[in-house]
């Protein structure tokens, strides 16, 4: 318990330092291109810490941990969690439940969303490729969905290591998102565990997303 607390503390300090740096001078945003971006907007890198994604609340009859099987909806534009009651709307852009990620676009959704996975670093992703976006398919069940961000180890955003029972975001996979209102964002998932420990173990609390993202309200360049 102490160890977890300590780790959390360290993480908060690291995050604090990191965001502090960003606010000052460490701006990775490239100079806007006046041709494609007539209105130059200062793009900030936002970090979301420990977003709960249906964390475990109990056990099933077999003693396996279970959550409530509910997605957490998130608005990239407003940087807020969107209430479940409001989920049948275009007020959210992306939602998380366990390792499943859905976007607000597709036949069973409510917005104009879409997504694709870019391979490279966060900084290298300078502009979106509008031809690559795909949308979520029709919902079946959670394990059999045709999602824009594929489920399953190695397919989408994470690798699962059965030897140590840990899911790790695959480095170099950047989620490119078209929001419910047709704007663009890029997301790098940093951790799936509470407190974003450097090397999570299966003792750490899972289903807590830490990610950083840039939201572009105008145009296709970051």
């Amino acid at each position: 318990m102490n160890k977890l607390f300590f780790r959390g503390l360290v993480w908060l300090m690291v995050v604090g330092l990191f965001t502090a740096c960003n606010e000052d001078d460490d701006d990775p945003t490239p100079m806007p291109d006046p041709d494609t971006d007539p209105i130059a907007v200062e793009l900030e890198v936002r970090t979301v810490t420990d977003l709960p994604a249906d964390p475990f609340t109990g056990e099933d009859d077999m003693g396996r941990p279970v959550g409530k099987n509910q997605f957490t909806f998130y608005s990239l534009e407003n940087q807020t969690i969107v209430a479940r009651e409001d989920s049948a709307s275009s007020n959210w852009d992306i939602a998380f439940q366990g390792t499943n990620i859905i976007i607000n676009g597709g036949p069973d959704r409510f917005g104009e969303g879409g997504a694709y996975i870019f391979e490279g670093t966060f900084e290298e992703l300078q502009s979106v490729d509008p031809t690559r976006f795909i949308v979520d398919g029709v919902d079946n069940d959670v394990n059999d969905s045709d999602l824009a961000i594929p489920t399953g180890s190695t397919n989408g955003w994470y690798n699962y290591n059965p030897a140590i029972q840990v899911a790790t975001p695959i480095p170099g996979r950047i989620l490119v998102i078209r929001t419910a209102s047709g704007k663009y964002a890029k997301i790098e998932i940093l951790s799936y565990y509470k407190g974003a420990p450097e090397s999570p173990t299966n003792e750490d609390e899972s289903r807590y997303y830490t990610f950083r993202y840039v939201y572009q309200p105008e145009g296709t360049n970051f």
Partner: protein
């Protein structure tokens, strides 16, 4: 032929001389080995890297099982994956062929042949050939060969050995040797048992559960004439081990208990006939079987949790001819047939293989300096096709102080039963694994039932699998720069293609994945191995060995060069590119390994003692930053050294020997990463000998 006899006489003489001086760890180059060329040759005349471990060394360090003696040899690492096997030249255990008196042992679990199944009390010597030997031995001899030569009936003696040590480990052995004119009989009985140990007392089930096993071995020699000799030998191994584990959750334990049994049988008959002065032939027949069964029960209500079995049979018939064209041209040729079968709870039927093979070897000794061995083997396998494995080895002897050798060869490993025939479905985790021979029909059936959502591999590759192959180069030198200093150095390089890995091949409509095996990756291993021995005095000898190793995946290197491999910066967790220098190669390989040993022996006083330090450098354990590749410090198991000591005294004209020892004296432990490394083990043993050989 004359040379052969001379060679034999010389070797007998040298062994006799050796009994006086007893060089323990150094490679006495006049020792005779048989594994490298399938003919009797002195170590100095073998143009490829060979290690010889003599009985004296095994006894003086006090090894009981094969893994204990092998782990102290340069360049060999014990790796635990469903049993303890050896890693040679950076290859996993499944790529090293383990022979007993020249015949293969079977019974591998996930590729690993459990070396602790083999007692060493009945071993005369162990010969290790590094580099591919498929040109003589066929499949599995890709990294090399370990050949265990058991005792030959000689003299009339009997021994009784008893040993007791930490973890209630007991070992009781008796052996006898009878030689009457034409008949020789050797017998060996061993019981080995332990209470095991537990690194995780909080959880149900020990790290190593209590076990006991028995080994019975006998060998019978009968010389019909000087020229016609028969050897019949048999070995029987039987082990029982407890099994305890918990399948429940922390708050709601669900305990499982039961017993696992292993049986291992070998039966061998060799008829050796000197047809003419120049022509010798050998007819070899061999049968071995490996059987396991395990029954596990819920402790709560004694109902059956799981019952599994595995039965493997292997029969081999082989005929070898050795022909001396002249003293300088020696031909060896052999043909053989192998019948194999496996039945197991995870296989659908009884599955059978057959292999026909022929090999040929030409040894040419053009002059005093040159020694050339060229050969090859063809294996025709009933399931996966034909393999051709050539090998060429050269040696040039400059003087007694220096000889150089070089060899190039091809090795292969056939797809195993699991890769061909596995038929396993895990309903809880929701996946299936099928061997490549099972896959086409199962996939077709599921497709007909509309149960397949998507096939993920090229349909032409379904059911297609080939042997894993390597091309290897060894280049070495044997040196004797000073009278008391002797050493060798060997550079090796292995290029391996067609490595078989499991892969998702299809997804079912219910989302469950179907795995099968495919030839996927290419790797290489390369490095340097060197061994040195210095005779400080007539009683004191020191030796040191070192191996540098690199083992890398070519696809990963390509990915790095394309800039397509990433990792997570541990401080910020953000993505950065992996560079070539950060890539640590394949998991489980130490870049640096070494050993340092001191042996003291005073034959007149009957005292001996030794200390051995075995070092294994850090090696990759598993991915922690999501890219499945070894590239970060916390993905390594820290390097470590273990110290082992032993001392003994011979009493009453060597009729009695008392010995004590400590394995891992400094009690190095890494419970999380190396559970098979027990802590400090103290032991004491006593041996009685009777008979006409002191």
């Amino acid at each position: 032929m004359r040379q052969n006899i001379l060679l034999l006489l010389w070797s007998i003489a040298s062994v006799a001389v050796q009994a006086q001086s007893d060089t323990l760890v150094s490679q006495d180059l006049s020792e005779v080995v048989v594994t490298a060329t399938r003919t009797e040759k002195t170590l100095s005349a073998i143009p490829m890297p060979v290690t010889l471990i003599k009985k004296t060394q095994i006894q003086q360090i006090g090894s009981l099982r094969l893994n204990e003696i092998l782990q102290e040899q340069t360049g060999l690492a014990i790796v635990a994956d469903h049993g303890q096997g050896i890693q040679m030249q950076g290859f996993n255990p499944e790529y090293t062929l383990i022979l007993i008196d020249g015949e293969p042992l079977v019974g591998r679990t996930a590729g690993t042949l459990e070396l602790s199944r083999l007692a060493v009390g009945n071993i005369k010597q162990i010969e290790i050939v590094k580099g591919p030997s498929s040109s003589l031995y066929g499949s599995e001899a890709l990294a090399g060969v370990v050949n265990i030569i058991t005792e030959q009936p000689a003299n009339t003696t009997a021994t009784l050995t008893a040993r007791y040590g930490s973890n209630e480990t007991s070992d009781l052995s008796t052996s006898f040797n009878v030689r009457r004119d034409r008949l020789g009989i050797y017998g060996f009985v061993n019981r080995y048992g332990s209470s095991g140990y537990d690194f995780t007392p909080a959880t149900f089930g020990q790290t190593v559960e209590p076990f006991h096993n028995y080994t019975l071995q006998t060998k019978l020699n009968y010389d019909f004439t000087e020229k016609a000799k028969l050897t019949v030998s048999g070995r029987y191994f039987w082990e029982v081990q407890d099994n305890n584990f918990d399948v429940g959750e922390a708050q709601a334990p669900n305990l499982i208990s039961g017993e696992g049994r292993i049986e291992d049988k070998n039966l061998q008959a060799i008829y050796d006939h000197q047809l003419t002065r120049a022509w010798r032939t050998e007819l070899r027949t061999y049968y071995t079987a490996y059987d396991t069964e395990s029954e596990l029960f819920y402790q709560s209500d004694q109902s059956l949790y799981e019952s599994t079995f595995f039965n493997q049979d292997f029969i081999r018939l082989e005929n070898i001819h050795e022909y001396f064209l002249t003293d300088k041209h020696i031909l060896t040729a052999g043909i053989g047939n192998i019948w194999e079968s496996v039945a197991a709870s995870r296989y659908e039927d009884l599955n059978r293989f057959q292999t026909q093979y022929a090999f040929f070897q030409y040894e040419w000794l053009p002059d005093e300096a040159w020694n050339i061995v060229a050969g090859g083997r063809v294996d025709r396998h009933s399931v996966y096709g034909t393999q051709v494995s050539p090998k060429l080895s050269l040696q040039y002897t400059f003087s007694e102080k220096l000889s150089l050798n070089a060899s190039v060869g091809r090795g292969f490993k056939a797809p195993d039963f699991r890769q061909l025939y596995l038929n396993f479905t895990n309903t809880v985790a929701g996946y299936s694994v099928y061997g490549t021979e099972e896959l086409p029909s199962i996939l077709a059936e599921l497709q007909a039932q509309n149960q397949i959502e998507e096939v993920l591999i090229d349909p032409s590759l379904i059911g297609d699998i080939q042997a894993e192959t390597s091309t290897s180069y060894n280049f070495g030198a044997r040196l004797n720069p000073l009278k008391r200093l002797r050493g060798d150095i060997n550079f090796f390089r292995n290029d391996v293609t067609n490595l078989i890995e499991s892969q998702t091949v299809a997804v079912r409509t219910n989302g469950n994945r179907i795995f099968s095996y495919q030839n996927l990756s290419s790797i290489f291993t390369q490095g340097i191995e060197t061994n040195w021995t210095y005779q400080l005095s007539s009683t004191l000898q020191v030796s040191a060995g070192y191996q540098y190793l690199e083992a890398k995946d070519r696809e990963v290197l390509d990915q790095i060069d394309e800039g397509a491999l990433f990792r997570r910066d541990p401080a910020t967790l953000q993505t950065v590119r992996v560079s070539r220098s950060e890539y640590g190669g394949l998991f489980g390989r130490s870049r640096h390994m070494g050993n340092f040993k001191i042996f003291y022996e005073h034959p007149e006083k009957g005292i001996f003692t030794n200390a051995r330090v075995i070092y294994r450098g850090r090696y990759g354990f598993g991915d922690r930053n999501g890219n499945l590749v070894l590239d970060q410090d916390n993905e390594y198991v820290p390097g470590y050294a273990t110290l082992h000591i032993s001392a003994g005294k011979d009493l009453y004209q060597k009729r009695l020997r008392a010995q004590v020892g400590a394995d891992n004296l400094l009690n190095y432990r890494d419970e999380a990463n190396i559970p098979n490394l027990a802590g400090r083990l103290l032991w004491a043993s006593i041996q009685f000998k009777i008979g006409n050989q002191p």
